[in-house]
Each structure stands twice: as C-alpha cells, then as structure tokens.
C-alpha cells in the first residue's frame, strides 16, 4: 500500500498501557499517516522513523494486546500483520516489543509468543522512570544474553529518555537480524505441533508457519484455519488427535501455552529483576477514593458533567464563530456572482453551506476527544467503565458505552466516533447504533419551535418544560431495548469477557492528547466530511431546481402593491413549492398524512436531512417568512399558529394541533433525519450496511410512534 519504494517496515507491538503510543509518537514525530485496515474498523497508524546511519524505516503502530490468541478484530489484525497476511502490507522486517518495565513477567508473555514468528526482535523496557521510582533494578544485559542476544533497551517515552537508544537498537536489529529463541516445548507437545503442521501440509499442499500451527493447536477460537483454507472437517480430526497428545503430556490443551511460556519466563527472569515491592502503591491509594462506593460515583458524575458541559456549551462558541465566518464569507462571495443567480446560490448556499455543515461539528469532536484522550491516557477511563458497567451489562453494552451515549446528548457524531474506546466489537457496534437515539442539540430547536407554537400558548410554560424533558427521554426509552435486542438476538458475534486492566494512573502527555484530537478530526473531515458536503449540495439542488423565471413574475403580478421584502419571501416560497423537493414532498405527503403532516412539514422533514434543525428555516421559507428564520422568530410562530388545512378531511382545522405538534416532536426524537450521523456510522462500522439498517430502523420506528401519537391524541383532543 505504501510507496513504490519497498523500504523497510518495523512493527511496534505491546500490551495496552505500556506507553506504546507515546513511544510511537516520540519515534515518528508528527509525520504520521492514519488509515484503516481493509474490512475492519481497526485504525492503522504508521510513520517514518530514523534509525541512524541513514536508515529510515516505516514504523507501524499495531493495536495493543496481551496475547496472540485472537479474540477481537484488533488482536486478529496484529496476528495477520505480523505473519504478513494483511492484504496490503508486507510482513514486517523486524518487531519492536514495548514492555512495561514494572511488570516484566506479564509483558514478556507476548514477546515469548512472538518468538515463534521468526522475526528480528527489539525489546524496549519502557516506563523505566517508574521502575526506578519503585526501586526496581533490571539487568538488561543479562536479559539480552538469556534471550539469545536480542537488543534490550530501557526507555521512558513520556520523558523522552532513551529514544535514541531505541532508534539505534532498531537499526542494529535490522543489521544483525537476531531472533529471540523459541520456547522449548515438552516432547509430546512438540510432537502434537508437528502433527498439526503435517496435517495442514497434507491438506493444503504447503507447510504452514510455526506461529499459525501454535494458534491452531492452542486456541479454540482462532480463524487461522479459515485463512489457510483448511477444511473444517479434516481440521477437527487432526486437531482433536493432537490435543489428546498434549493432554498425555499432562496439560490441558487450552492452558498449555500460558503455563509453559510463564514457566519459561519465570526461570528466564531469575536474577534479572531486583528490588521493588509495592507495585500498585500510589494508584491503589487513589483508587481508595475514586473507586469508593460513595465518593467514586460522585467524582465520576462531576467529571462527566464537566465533559458534557464542555461538549454541549463550550463548543457553542467556536461553532458560532464558524457559522459567523461562513455567513460572512457568503456575504463577501455573493456580490462577486451578482447576475448569475444560479451560480451564486450554488456557491453560497450549496458549497459554502456544505463546508460549514461539517466544519460545525469540529469543535464538539475536538473537545470530546480532548476529554477522551485525558481520560484514556490517565487511566481513569477504565475506572469509569468499572463504575458504570453494571448499568449497561444487562443490555449487552458495557461500562465504556457511557461516554459515547452521554456525548450523544450533545451530538451523535462525536459520540459515535468515541465508541472506538470500546474494545469489544459487539458492544462497540451496539453502542454506535444506540447513540443517535440520544436527543442531540439539533433536535432542540425543533422542540422549542413546536412548544412555542402550541404547547406554551395553550398550556403554559410549565407544560412546555415537561414536554421538553419528556422528548429527551423518548430516545433513551427506545435505545435500551434496541441495544438489548441487537446484542442478544441480531449480532452473532461471540461476546467478549469484560476483563479490563485498571492500569497505573499516569499524567497524560499533551502531545499524545493533541495528536489524538487532530487525527480524529482529520479523519472525520476526510471521510464523513465529503459525504456531508455531497448531501448538502444534493439537497440544495433539489430545492433550487427547476427555476422558471415565470414563477417570480406571477408572484409579483399577483401582489402589485405589497412591500418588496414580503414579495421576495413569497417568491422564495413559490420556488420551493414547485422545486423537485417541493413536488416530491407533495407527492409523498400521503405517507405522512397519518402523522398529521401537511406538505410543508413533509418538505421540511425531507430538506432537513443535512441537519435536523434545517426544518425550522425550511418552514420559514415555505411559510413566506423569508430565509434564515430561527425557532424564536415570532413571525414564523404566528404564521404556523394561523396555518389551517386548505383541503381534505381536516379542512379548516389548525395544522399545528396538539396531536400534530406532539407527533412531529416524537418523529424528530426518533428518526434518523441526519445525513452526517448516517455518514459517520458508515465510517465507524466499516461500510454502509449498518448505516442503512440504522436509517431504515430509526425512520420506520419514528413513523410508527408518531402515527400512534397523532392517531391517539387527535381522538382525545380533536384539532379545532
């Protein structure tokens, strides 16, 4: 995939929470490329690393993992990448294993498994500063000797110490190509491995790699068999016989690998590590407060409230600057195109409006990822998940679903993007699916307008607040059962156990946090942003064409002695009515008739696909109030209060009755009337399938519920 020149590639692997990403950032600087592995929603990060002596390599940051026995897509990507089975990537030329120096034994388990890959290895004992603080003394020379001479270096990526030693070690590994000696299996296990290898070779005609053979023998869930094209029926016979052999060696086949590796490592580490006692000391004391039965949830609520306030409220300022800038740009550009009304409208309303449409999401995305970065890098995210898990586990989600769902109340887009923090693919998808049900801030103007038009004037401000709060609960009411059904009956993925490390607390590094914000925002703009732009242009074109000059002339002739502004508004209304959007709205109005929507509301619903709140300005145009009307426009509210049905069985009654107003709000609470959300779902679920399902499901549900509300309420309180 990368470059024409087949340079050297080096993979960075390691357990989560080892400071691997910090080391990656330190080694590659800011010139990184972020993409996705084909077919899976696992991010692929790579960058150029200078290893001295003119050697430059492409460094690939693989997802963190504890073991090669693949359970999640992240882990599968690592195994496939290291064995050279990823479609676009070559097998790396060397592997850098990042190890938490304070927990050598556990971290070396992965390194020990990797020794079977027959690749040059560098061991980086990171977080050396913490190890020193804990009084640990590590004899790296002895460790290197016992591992067959592979380079072992200490570093503290956080402090920027030892980075050049890591560079030199990578260069050395590429020159000397020293491998880590593989584990010595007991004779019967060795025989079992040979049997599996022979079985594969006999059936597919070529000898498999050693690492693949181990996955086949030791893992119950591995997908290596499918990748090799080894027929399941043959596979089962060979593997069952081989596992029986492992049993005769005295090991449970599924436990043999960790038992034998850890036994090896325990011997290997004798005399390597000295000193050190209370390894969880500082963090344990903090956890006495942060995981306290009472204080824990209090602190948690405070942090989440702060995060929500920042995403919801603080982001409004830059969003206003962006929309102000977009409006100013329109004013600057528009006069340049005077005399070319079509081009003028395309550039100002279509193109500038389209860019503004996705730029408006950036402040919320950046602020949310500032918090997500701090929460993740500090180690608090795992605690937050620990505190909240019980509330979510019963419906198939987990504690990490909380942050995405909460941010959904500000905007679904950052919410969906933040589901990346959820490791379990099933819970991640279900959470992303549930996020758009949260009542986002774009629904607010719709509720506000409906309340101002009908609820407030007829029932008072008290009921207005009740309706407002109620509408924010409607989505939640449906999201929970949806997640439950989705995880229980629809998604056939095996659930992952919620085994989550509560890592040592650490001060987040500003560079890492900023880089994460930037990379997420850039990916959103380049992927979902283009789709959002396209949607805006399409909806613009549908509302603009056809543009027969005769329409304007007719309106002018019909209103000879009316003020110019009023005539302009009437012309705009007339154009929208006969545009493709207007015609389509009128044509499908019967489908929305059971919901009590007239053609103007129907057009508003359709035209608001780029963003929900657009229905307000669309109603402004169709009600001849003029462009740019907002929910607090008294003029628009009055026009809507006065609007009556001019035909059909409801002739003469108010359009915006209690039933219609409630139905419209319920419809907007549940429908997927937001192109950017659909585009983001597609980006984050790796294709349009789930985005399409979400759109159809939510819109269908919205129609059903709104119809139920209208039909019920209009019988109890018939529209006057």
């Amino acid at each position: 995939m990368s470059a024409a020149e087949p340079g050297l590639t080096v993979a960075l692997v390691g357990n989560p929470n080892t400071g691997k990403s910090t080391l990656f950032n330190a080694l590659t600087g800011l010139r990184q490329r972020v993409g996705n592995y084909p077919g899976v929603t696992v991010a692929r990060k790579s960058g150029q690393c200078d290893c001295g002596n003119g050697t430059k390599v492409e460094l690939i940051d693989l997802p963190g993992l504890y073991s090669l026995s693949a359970a999640s897509p992240d882990e599968q990507v690592v195994i496939d990448a290291l064995s050279g089975h990823l479609a676009d990537d070559r097998r790396p030329d060397a592997v850098v294993v990042v190890i938490d120096a304070t927990n050598l034994l556990r971290n070396l388990f992965l390194a020990s498994q990797l020794s079977e890959l027959d690749l040059p290895v560098v061991l980086v004992l990171n977080q050396a500063d913490v190890a020193v603080e804990q009084g640990l003394k590590i004899d790296t020379e002895l460790l290197s000797r016992r591992l067959g001479g592979v380079p072992v270096v200490m570093s503290s990526a956080w402090k920027g110490e030892g980075i050049s030693a890591v560079r030199r070690a990578i260069g050395e590994a590429l020159r000397a190509r020293v491998r880590m000696p593989a584990v010595e299996w007991p004779p019967l296990v060795e025989e079992a491995l040979a049997d599996v290898a022979a079985g594969v070779a006999a059936d597919i005609g070529r000898a498999p790699g050693r690492a693949d053979v181990e996955r086949l023998l030791f893992d119950s869930t591995t997908s290596v068999g499918q990748r090799l094209g080894w027929v399941a029926a043959r596979r089962d016979v060979v593997i069952r016989a081989a596992r029986d052999k492992v049993r005769r060696a005295g090991y449970n086949p599924l436990a043999a690998e960790p038992l034998i590796h850890y036994e090896r490592l325990r011997k290997l580490l004798e005399g390597v590590v000295q000193g050190g006692g209370n390894r969880t000391g500082g963090s344990a004391a903090v956890d006495q407060v942060l995981l306290h039965r009472v204080l824990g949830p209090v602190v948690f609520a405070g942090i989440m409230l702060g995060m929500f306030a920042a995403v919801f409220w603080l982001a409004k300022f830059p969003m206003q600057w962006i929309s102000g800038g977009v409006d100013a740009l329109k004013l600057v550009v528009a006069p340049l195109l005077d005399g070319m009304p079509m081009l003028q409208s395309l550039v100002t309303d279509g193109m500038i409006g389209g860019v503004g449409a996705f730029l408006a999401f950036l402040p919320q995305i950046l602020i949310l990822f500032l918090f997500v970065g701090i929460l993740e890098d500090s180690g608090y995210m795992a605690r937050a998940a620990f505190i909240m898990d019980r509330l979510f586990s019963w419906c198939g989600l987990n504690g990490k679903s909380f942050v995405p769902l909460l941010s959904g109340f500000a905007c679904a887009i950052p919410g969906i993007l933040s589901t990346r923090t959820i490791e379990d693919p099933k819970a991640r998808l279900a959470t992303a699916f549930a996020v758009p049900f949260m009542s986002c801030s774009a629904r607010f103007p719709v509720y506000a307008l409906m309340c101002a038009v009908f609820i407030g004037p007829n029932y008072g401000a008290g009921w207005e607040s009740v309706v407002m709060v109620g509408m924010h609960c409607v989505g939640l009411l449906f999201a929970v059962p949806t997640a439950f059904v989705l995880t229980r009956f629809v998604l056939k993925v095996k659930p992952q156990p919620f085994v989550l490390e509560l890592p040592r607390y650490q001060m987040p590094k500003p560079r890492d946090v900023l880089l994460r914000m930037w990379q997420n925002a850039a990916e959103f703009v380049s992927r979902a942003g283009t789709v959002i732009f396209a949607i805006t242009i399409i909806v613009w074109a549908l509302s603009y064409f056809p543009r027969d000059a005769a329409v304007a002339e007719r309106v002018k002739a019909e209103n000879p002695s009316v003020a110019e502004a009023v005539v302009t508004a009437k012309i705009q209304a007339a154009y929208v009515e006969q545009s493709y959007m207007g015609r389509f709205g009128k044509a499908i109005q019967p489908a929305f008739d059971p919901l009590g929507f007239d053609w103007k509301i129907t057009v508003g619903v359709l035209a608001s696909f780029p963003a929900r709140e657009v229905i307000v300005s669309t109603l402004g145009v169709t009600y001849s109030v003029g462009k740019g009307a907002e929910a607090d426009s008294k003029h628009l509210q009055q026009e809507m209060k006065d609007a009556r049905w001019t035909e059909g069985p409801r002739l003469g009654t108010h359009i915006f009755s209690l039933a219609a107003v409630l139905a419209l709000m319920v419809f907007f609470a549940l429908c997927s009337q937001c192109g950017p959300t659909v585009a983001t779902l597609a980006q984050e679920t790796g294709g349009w399938k789930w985005a399409a399902i979400s759109f159809v499901y939510m819109t269908g549900l919205a129609w059903l519920m709104a119809a139920a509300v209208y039909q019920t309420v209009s019988r109890i309180a018939p529209p006057a």
């Binding site: 504890y66 073991s67 026995s69 359970a71 304070t102 927990n103 034994l105 556990r106 388990f109 119950s220 869930t221 449970n252 086949p253 599924l254 436990a255 960790p258 038992l259 850890y262 390894r279 969880t280 963090s283 344990a284 956890d287 995981l291 039965r293 009472v294 824990g296 949830p297 795992a382 998940a385 620990f386 505190i387 898990d389 019980r390 509330l391 586990s393 095996k494 992952q496 156990p497 919620f498 085994v499 989550l500 490390e501 509560l502």
Partner: protein
C-alpha cells in the same frame, strides 16, 4: 474453597483452579493468573458488579458472572474469613 464472586474486598487467597474452556479464564491466564497464584479482591463496583482483583502487581476487573467459577482457597492468615452473604 470459595468462588471468587463471594470474596469480600480485602480478602485474598490462592487460586485453586481455572477452566481453560472459558474465554474469561483464557484471558486471565494470558495476564499471568495461573493456578496456585495468590490473588486479592481489592474493589467491588458501587453497584456490586464488577469486581477488581489484584495479582502479580496488576489490577484487573471482571464481572460477577465471570468470577463465579473461579475458586479461591482463602489464605489462613487472611483477617477476613467469612464469605460474602448471598444476595
């Protein structure tokens, strides 16, 4: 022998057995939790589930249902000996 799910915070003991057929136990083994090792229950979440255990210098959380089949031999010197009351 007491199921891990019935330990009280602060209680510790030796892990007597794991079931390698279960994916939870496979994960824990990969993290270095092997039979015979001492582990300690350090926290229960505010809503009673999940639990956090400490072993080999690391803290790991797991759910009650996942902890039911993990059997612990509570250490003789552990100040708390009684199991968590059944709910």
């Amino acid at each position: 022998m007491t199921p891990l799910s019935q330990l009280l915070p602060g209680q510790y003991g030796k892990l007597t057995s794991l079931n390698p057929e279960r994916s939870v136990d496979q994960r824990l083994m990969a993290l270095g939790l092997l039979p015979g090792m001492v582990l300690k229950l350090v926290h229960t979440a505010p809503l009673g589930d999940p639990l956090a255990i400490e072993f080999a210098g690391q803290v790991v959380s797991l759910r009650l249902t996942e902890a039911q089949n993990i059997l612990i031999d509570v250490a003789a010197d552990c100040p708390i000996q009684r199991p968590r009351p059944q709910t």
